[in-house]
């Protein structure tokens, strides 16, 4: 992993179009500013991991039989 030292207000440029700014230091917390093209996805790691895990769980391996389950909030036909 590349490790760089930066002071508050200093930046890192990635790939020419992503700009990371160390915005503020508050004790052990760092506030980071990111500007990137809109189509770049940016998530806190724990949020990304949780959604990714749920997506992996949702991936269908064997076509389920869903004709018998009684669903919530569905109007009766």
């Amino acid at each position: 992993m590349l490790i760089l030292s930066r002071k508050t207000g200093e930046k890192i440029i990635i790939n020419g179009n992503i700009e990371i700014t160390v915005a503020e230091l508050r004790g052990s917390e760092v506030r980071i500013g990111i500007s990137a093209p809109k189509n770049v996805s940016i998530y806190r790691e724990e949020v990304y991991r949780k959604v990714q895990e749920e997506n992996a769980r949702a991936l269908v391996e064997k076509t389920p039989d869903l004709t018998k389950v009684e669903l919530k909030g569905k109007k009766k036909k």
């Binding site: 809109k38 959604v51 749920e54 997506n55 949702a58 869903l66 004709t67 018998k68 389950v69 919530k72």
Partner: protein, 155 residues
């Protein structure tokens, strides 16, 4: 009976994902197809990898008051407004399908006029990644009466 949401996507049911399904970043085109005639379930299959498929629901079929909040950048990226958006929830189906859940925290949003979509994390907090979809008897029948949203104080 044809699925009403799929009927809405009259131009094409093949959607380009501007934002990926997290964990499946390399797949950027998904096709939406009905699961069975008259079923509320909808297949979402990777166009180039038919083995990569998800069961989804139209969020509003189950949670009419579902409220999605996107960042301005994401709205702009998608050209999102109330009239052109379809919201799909990815359904997780364990061995016993009666324990199936839907991901309300990170829906798939489709602008069906632009044929563009993506998975977005709802900035409105309190929606579950694992909201049960199956009735659990009368006692719990109205546990999602608040549109499936459980308010909490976490920030």
């Amino acid at each position: 009976m044809a699925n009403a949401v799929l009927e809405t996507m009259e131009k094409s049911r093949e959607i380009i994902f501007i934002k990926p399904v997290l964990g499946f970043e390399e797949h950027r085109v998904f096709v939406f197809q009905e699961y069975k005639p008259g079923s509320p379930f909808i297949w979402m299959t990777a166009a180039e990898e038919p083995m990569l498929k998800f069961i989804t629901i139209n969020m509003f079929d189950f949670f009419p008051g579902y409220d999605l909040k996107l960042s301005n950048d994401d709205r702009e990226l998608l050209g999102f407004n109330g009239d052109n958006a379809l919201l799909f929830g990815l359904v997780s189906i364990p061995e016993d399908p009666s324990n199936m859940t839907v991901n309300m925290a990170a829906p798939v949003v489709v602008n069906y006029k632009k044929m563009a979509g993506g998975q977005f994390v709802n900035m409105r907090e309190g929606y579950s990644l694992k909201e049960p979809l199956v009735k659990r008897g009368e006692a719990n029948a109205d546990s999602v009466k608040e549109n499936g949203r459980k308010d909490n104080n976490k920030r």
